[in-house]
């Protein structure tokens, strides 16, 4: 018999299997016929022939398995027949002897096992004797694949028939030790056969052989599974009787594939509390395994199982402590790296990731242990820094991210060895970590409140803050990264306003190193954080003299930030910041000089740096809006500023823009008192609200003039846009109404009436009647007047004399 299995070429396999299968069917047919005729002898003869097909050496394990299953099915019929024979009076002892007359070993043994299972079930003989006999007899087949399948058959067919604790076969049939003995002998023999496969045949076929071996692994493992399923298997039995022998076999077989698979079998098959109790043995065996074994995979499996064990039952943590599980596992992990020498970085990281997972599950509060894991990881990896393997990098980022998600970011960053592990990464991945850290702070809404922590945090995320050597910034993500940084500014918060200011200052120092492209994003949030701080300072200390000093300092600092922003260059935002500062200085801190300086700088930017007419319009709108609200300016200062604003408004490029801007400027002469000021005295440093009705009128009349000249414009007439100027008229009319309702003395009923008539005249024009938007505006205005008339209050009086 040729010893090499699967020797037939691939194309042949299918045909051979088919032929063998047919032979099995044919013999089975005759076997069943014989069984029907109650012819035991013939039945046995045919069954032996049938089983003879399993003697083939030509099939691959996969194909052999198919043939085996066919035979297996037929053997179940035979079992039923044996039971029948038994009922008719023939003893199993007889049958047991009879089947041994089969000519060839393999069929003989299959038949023996078949009878054997019936024998045990009938309790005609004690279970342990039959089992012992069978497991010994099977040694007669030493061919690896055939032997494996035979013993697998034995295993399957004896299922449920073992003298387990509480089973019907216990007592006279034996005890659980007999059951364990049986299974372990079967296991040991199967393992030997399995390992032998490795050394058969040519070297060039090694890969294929190893593949085939993997396919057969579960046959061997099943024995251990059945051991673990024994009801009576307690820890004592496991420790004394099972583990030692299994470990022994694992080590002595000196086969990497077997060792890898079987270690996993043990870890996955037996209960976790058993593992806890035998941790020393399990870990102690690791150094004795073959070089090809991936030890980190084994350790990781064990860690994962123990982690889940701890998670499911808090009480076991105590046990973990008693056996110093953490200590042992960490040492084992460290040993793995030392021993192997060149364990790939990815594997080392994976193992430490599992260790971290374990620590997190079992000791969620023990950050010192997390640090220990990081230390171990660092020591294992430092010689390989920077980590260039892509997979390892990814895993390292994952390793570093895990504690971030679980614990508070700032606390994690303080772990002594966190920075060192982070430094193992290449610049690109380091940046990725920095982004994660930032995102986590934002997501957890952590407030970073001390200088020390802020400095440390900014150290960690330095790739975001400034250019790093060897790292190019990715265009697509740059803005998003800077947005993260910008949002981070708002997390730098201290309850003490002085400290808070220092934090902002420190941040700005760092951001300065980032260059113009970063400052554009990072300076505005600093300014706004500071503006908020100004209000806090003011509200916090009440009327104490100290605040002015502090508010002043902060405001001046903001002016510095705005100036810096203007030079980036980012003139439009800088202008807006100046305006925000002016408003804060005027309305919150009541500091006229700073408010003036802010507006002055805003105007300077307007003159020198605002790019186009559209931007001018927006800038001016904002300026007027802010200036309108400022109450802190003395009449002289206010005069200068208002004059500037109205001057610029009249000089805008397009007439309609001019007109609207000048209308807006009219409000600069008409301020409202805040509700809290009603009846009270005007507070110190605040001017009474301006109510200059004459100048309001001047503005509105000027607006009318501009609207008129807009009508004259040739370009307007050529374009056929006759209605825009009329739109302006209606706009101005609405402004007149605004002031009329406010009680501005310059806007008398007659003034308003004449304007109403003027507009009505303009509106009568065909062009205007066809312009839906204009018509709607005009009609709404008239409607508004009508509503005012019907109100029946003082206002209504004034409106009553108006004729529409």
């Amino acid at each position: 018999m040729v010893d090499v299995m699967g020797s037939a070429p691939a194309e042949e396999q299918g045909r051979l299997l088919q032929e063998a299968g047919n032979a099995v069917k044919r013999n089975a047919f005759f076997m069943k016929k014989a069984m029907d005729e109650d012819n035991l002898r013939e039945a046995l003869r045919y069954s032996a022939t049938l089983l003879g097909e399993l003697r083939t050496p030509a099939l691959t394990p996969q194909r052999y398995f198919e043939l085996y299953m066919q035979a297996f099915n037929e053997l179940t019929h035979l079992q039923a027949f044996f039971r029948e024979e038994r009922r008719k009076g023939r003893s199993y002892a007889d049958l047991y002897e009879l089947v041994q007359h089969a000519g060839n070993v393999l069929p003989r043994l299959y038949l023996l096992c078949t009878v054997g299972s019936c024998y045990i079930r009938s309790k005609e003989a004690p279970a342990r004797s039959v089992l012992k006999d069978l497991v010994e007899m099977c040694k007669g087949v030493q061919h690896p694949v055939r032997g494996l399948f035979l013993r697998s058959y034995l295993c399957q067919v004896s299922r449920g028939l073992l003298p387990d604790v509480g089973s019907e076969f216990e007592g006279d049939g034996g005890s659980i030790s007999d059951a364990i003995e049986f299974l372990l002998i079967n296991f040991t023999e199967m393992n030997k056969l399995w390992v032998r496969m490795q050394h058969q045949g040519a070297t060039k076929d090694r890969e294929r052989r190893e593949q085939e071996r993997q396919q057969l692994a579960d046959l061997v493992g099943r024995n251990l599974t059945y051991v673990s399923q024994l009801d009576g298997l307690d820890f004592a039995l496991y420790q004394e009787g099972v583990l030692a022998r299994v470990m022994d076999q694992i080590v002595s077989c000196k086969d990497a594939i077997a060792q890898q698979y079987l270690m996993q079998c043990v870890i996955q098959g037996f209960p976790d509390d058993f593992h806890l109790g035998t941790l020393d043995t399990l870990l102690g065996i690791l150094p004795n395994l073959q070089p090809g074994v991936q030890i980190h995979v084994i350790v990781s499996s064990l860690l994962d199982r123990l982690a889940r064990f701890a998670a499911s039952d808090k009480a076991v943590v105590e046990t973990f402590n008693q056996v110093d599980a953490f200590g042992k596992l960490t040492r084992a992990a460290a040993k793995v790296t030392e021993q192997e020498g060149q364990v790939p970085a990815g594997d080392v990281v994976a193992m430490h990731a599992a260790l971290l997972g374990f620590t997190g599950a079992v000791y969620p509060d023990r950050l010192d242990l997390v640090n220990k894991v990081l230390t171990s990881a660092f020591q294992a990896l430092e010689k390989q820094a920077p980590i260039t393997d892509v997979k390892a990098e990814k895993q390292l980022v994952q390793l570093l991210s895990t504690p971030l998600d679980k614990y508070d970011v700032v606390t994690v960053l303080e772990l002594a060895n966190y920075p060192s592990v982070m430094s193992l990464l290449r610049p690109a991945k380091y940046k990725e970590m920095a982004v994660k850290i930032c995102s986590t702070v934002l997501r957890q809404r952590t407030l970073v409140g001390s200088m020390e922590k802020v400095e440390m945090l900014l150290d960690f995320i330095s790739p975001l803050v400034k250019d790093t050597e060897g790292l190019e910034d990715d265009e697509d993500f740059f803005e998003e990264e800077q947005n993260l940084l910008a949002r981070l500014v708002h997390q730098l918060v201290s309850a003490d306003t002085d400290e808070h200011f220092e934090l902002l200052r420190a941040a700005r120092e760092r951001f300065n190193a980032g260059g113009a492209k970063r400052l554009r994003h990072t300076l505005p949030p600093l300014a706004f954080a500071a503006l908020r701080l100004v209000r806090q300072i003011k509200e916090g200390d009440g009327d104490s003299k100290k605040i002015d000093g502090s508010c002043k300092t902060v405001l001046q600092w903001i002016l510095g930030v705005a100036a810096q922003l203007a030079e980036v260059p980012a003139a439009e935002i800088a202008l807006q910041l100046y305006l925000q500062t002016a408003h804060a200085a005027s309305e919150v801190a009541r500091l006229e000089l700073i408010a003036y300086e802010s507006l002055e700088q805003a105007f300077v930017l307007y003159e020198e740096a605002i790019p186009d007419s559209k931007a001018e319009v927006t800038a001016l709108q904002s300026i007027v809006g802010v200036l309108h609200r400022c109450r802190v300016f003395t009449p002289e200062s206010r005069d200068t500023l208002v004059h500037k604003a109205t001057g610029y408004s009249a000089k805008l490029l397009k007439k309609p823009d001019q007109c609207r801007a000048v209308c807006a400027c009219s409000h600069l002469f008409w301020q409202e008192a805040a509700p809290e000021e009603e009846g009270a005295e005007v507070p110190e440093g605040v001017q009474p609200p301006v109510r200059d009705s004459d100048n309001v009128m001047v503005c509105l009349k000027r607006a009318l003039k501009i609207a008129n000249s807009a009508q004259q414009q040739l370009a307007v007439a050529l374009k056929g846009d006759h209605t825009t100027p009329v739109m302006l008229f209606v706009d101005i009319l609405n402004h007149y109404l605004f002031y009329f309702e406010q009680g501005n003395p310059s806007i008398t009923t007659s003034v308003l009436q004449s304007l109403l008539e003027l507009v009505a005249n303009e509106m009568a024009n065909d062009n205007c009647q066809n312009d839906a938007a204009l018509l709607a505006f005009y009609n709404s205005t008239r409607n508004h007047i009508a509503i005012q008339k019907e109100k029946g209050d003082d206002l209504a009086q004034k409106f009553s004399s108006l004729q529409l």
Partner: protein, 163 residues
């Protein structure tokens, strides 16, 4: 609510301040109407947007163009100019929804509760509007001290009066 398809329009007075926020809005609903705020630099944003939904004309404007800021009469002026039944404006970060004469003024406040010197203690807020023909149901969402408060207002568009 954030499942795709539930929101049909997004109206934002402006000051998104970054492309990222715009992309986020677009991911919730591609039909966005966003006006230019004083801190926006996106050239595709206009000063005003007007759209028609159901029987309503709705206008959107940031509001930094309106003087006095946040003043009801001044906003009403803008409303008449745009000829809209509902005007959505911002800038002040002060949450407000009211009926004024025969129209509606809404300020959804700041979605993030961002600092504004005009409104010292702004809290995060936004508005959901359900338009059905001539009826508008307005749901006002406010996040005050970690608690979400929802109020509902209903407006029915009156037949317009023309003189």
């Amino acid at each position: 609510m954030q499942a795709p398809g539930k929101i049909h329009y997004i109206l934002s007075p402006g000051n998104l301040c970054s492309q990222e926020v715009l992309e986020y809005f677009k991911s919730v609903c591609s039909n966005t109407h966003i006006t230019k705020g004083d801190f926006d630099d996106n050239p595709s944003f206009q000063d005003n947007e007007v759209l028609e939904l159901g029987d309503f004309r709705i206008g959107v404007c940031h509001g930094h163009q309106v003087v006095p800021s946040g003043d009801t009469d001044a906003l009403a002026l803008l409303q008449r100019r745009l000829n809209v039944d509902i005007l959505v404006s911002g800038h002040t970060h002060e949450f407000m929804a009211m009926q004024h004469e025969d129209r509606i003024l809404i300020n959804p406040g700041s979605a993030t509760g961002a600092f504004s010197s005009l409104t010292p203690s702004a809290h995060p807020s936004f508005v959901l509007m359900d338009i059905d023909g001539s009826k508008a149901s307005v749901y006002l969402y406010n996040l005050i001290e970690e608690e979400v408060r929802v109020e509902k207002m209903e407006f029915t568009k009156a037949a317009s009066k023309l003189l």
